[in-house]
Amino acid sequence: MKLLATLTASLTATAACALVSTTVLAAETITINSFGGAYETAHRKCVIDPFEKETGASVQIVTAYSADAFAQLRAQKDAPQFDVIHFSGGQEIVGAKEGLLSPLDPAKVPNLADLYDFAKKNVAEGEGPAYSIAAIGLLYNSEKAPKAPTSWKDLMDEAYADHIVLTDISNGYGMLGFLMLNQAEGGSLEDIEPGLEAVKTLLGRGAVVVSTSPEIQQEFAQNDAWIAAYASDYAYTLEKAGLPAKFVQGEEGTPASFITANLVAGRPNQDLAMKFIDMTISKEAEACFANELRYSPTNSKVELSDEVAANMVYGEDAVKGLIRFDPQVIEANRSDWVDQWNRAIAR
């Protein structure tokens, strides 16, 4: 009998211990998404490691692109698993509308004050602030391409023949590149027919469609690609990989993709999550992202070396001059457009 009592007592003690330790653990862990590859490495270096060091909390990273991450966030509506979620395709607008995201408390995110106004426009509605901006332009092979492109219309130049890489519009950058090509061809957000026609023409000449960033690198490295519409940061990734890739802004304009850090609603440790977002938009983190990956910063206090500033869009006026296709229109039309795109490219 005595043995049984001791056993019960020790069991209860163990259970209590386990309970305590899990609650402590839960309070000190936040879950975020990152975009994998070089991005995740930089993310770790610029934000995650400093955050873990400063707060003693640990960060769990789930690798998921914006669309996948958003699908997960929606699926987990009743029991969200992310604390901070990063988007590059304007998903925060839908997320905020559906109540999946929480507005930030400016008192707990002091760095918000230093951001350019356009980067924090709808923070009060729950849309997270933009901490990096990727500019979409033309990526080309400076050794093999018969000539350097200068405008978006050059994509249609027959000189590039079948060495063109198109990006599927399921990819956020692909969507922006397509919309810009559409605009250059005479279309608008109300009418994407000219863009689809252009894409069909290019496919007829033998263009390749890819859907992820690493595939673009593969096309340039192995499959003799000459030109693609893509983001400036990726041009830098190709350059670092030793490929003769150059980035130019098309003369018709340069669309931008805002990368945002969003606070997920319905999570217990929002204060810690806000601390994470605060560090994400700090001038140190943004400068680090610019140095590592050549993303344009949104924090007005960031200062970059000339060398880094040279291959990106930098400074409030330059960044403000980027075209931002209305993400709400994109979101409203996304499923229609993807459907039309799929039909246009289907074999």
Binding site: A67, D68, F70, A71, R74, D162, D168, S170, L203, G206, V208, V209, V210, S211, Q218, Q222, N223, D224, R334, S335, V338, D339, N342, R343, I345, A346, R347
Partner: protein, 273 residues
């Protein structure tokens, strides 16, 4: 405990797992697929079944699965026959050889094919050197690439299903047929093949269902331009966020596979007892 309760206890964990991991999600999917803004609707199904684009996707899925199954059977049967007739040592090596593809991750294996089949890959290069293909020839993002990639993965399922039957075959049956004057091919056709049919059917069922529902290989080797049902469902879920329509497509895939499997299994089951 009686035998019956013992059996029940033994089967319970499996049943629970099946219920939780299979029946509940399938049930949810079925509900989602008929959910509209105003309650019950079949709009998602009629949208799929009246649109030539989606019907094309469905047809491609079925067509490629049949081709993959046929190629697997055509390669798998002779291979299994040889395996059944060699000594145990060599058989072990052959089994290893055939299941080797299953030992690497599907993604890694598929990336291997991407390197081989791409524009500057080994296969198009050789074809170009032989003058069999043009300058821009590439096997990537073609139906052929999907078939090649899938056959490699699914061949073990076919071969091992057939091998299981062939090793249990009485060798004297074949000897008897040969003594009675059958040629080698006739022996295969009239004796071995009919007896191996349950194995071929089982293997075909496995291969067909696996290829109809596979996602990674068609997605990577077929690219965005060649959609199969599983890739189309993935796109609806992650890109257009139209979950009810995705659920309807998943249901169609599910029912389609069932419809093909049941009569097939019945037919061959009746013949082979």
């Amino acid at each position: 405990m009686s035998d019956r309760t013992e059996n029940l206890v033994l089967v319970l964990p499996g049943l629970l797992l099946l219920a939780l991991a299979f029946l509940v999600p399938i049930g949810q999917m079925l509900v989602l697929s008929v959910e509209g803004e105003n309650g019950f609707t079949l709009a998602h199904f009629s949208r799929f079944l009246t649109d030539s684009y989606y019907l094309g996707v469905l047809w491609r899925t079925i067509r490629l699965s049949i081709v993959i199954t046929a190629i697997c059977a055509a390669i798998g049967f002779p291979f299994a026959y040889i395996m059944a007739h060699v000594g145990p040592r060599i058989r072990l090596w052959l089994v290893l050889l055939v299941i080797l593809p299953l030992m690497t991750s599907v993604v890694v294996r598929t990336f291997g094919w991407m390197v081989l089949l791409g524009r500057s890959g080994l296969v198009p290069d050789i074809l170009r050197d032989l003058g069999l293909a043009g300058r821009n020839f590439s096997l990537m993002h073609t139906e052929a690439a999907i078939v090649i990639g899938m056959v490699q993965v699914l061949l073990p399922f076919m071969t091992l299903s057939i091998l299981g039957i062939l090793t249990r075959l009485d060798p004297r049956l074949e000897e008897a047929a040969r003594t009675m004057g059958c040629s080698f091919l006739k022996t295969i056709r009239t004796v071995v093949l009919p007896l191996a049919l349950p194995g071929i059917v089982a293997g075909s069922l496995l291969v067909f269902t696996l290829s109809a529902s596979s996602f990674v290989t068609p997605n990577l080797l077929g690219g965005s331009r060649i959609q199969m049902l599983a890739t189309s469902i993935y796109r609806q879920v992650t890109q257009t966020l139209d979950w009810p329509f995705a659920a309807a497509q998943a249901t169609i895939l599910f029912v389609g596979v069932l419809l093909i499997l049941i009569p097939y299994a019945r037919l061959t089951g009746a013949r082979n007892g």
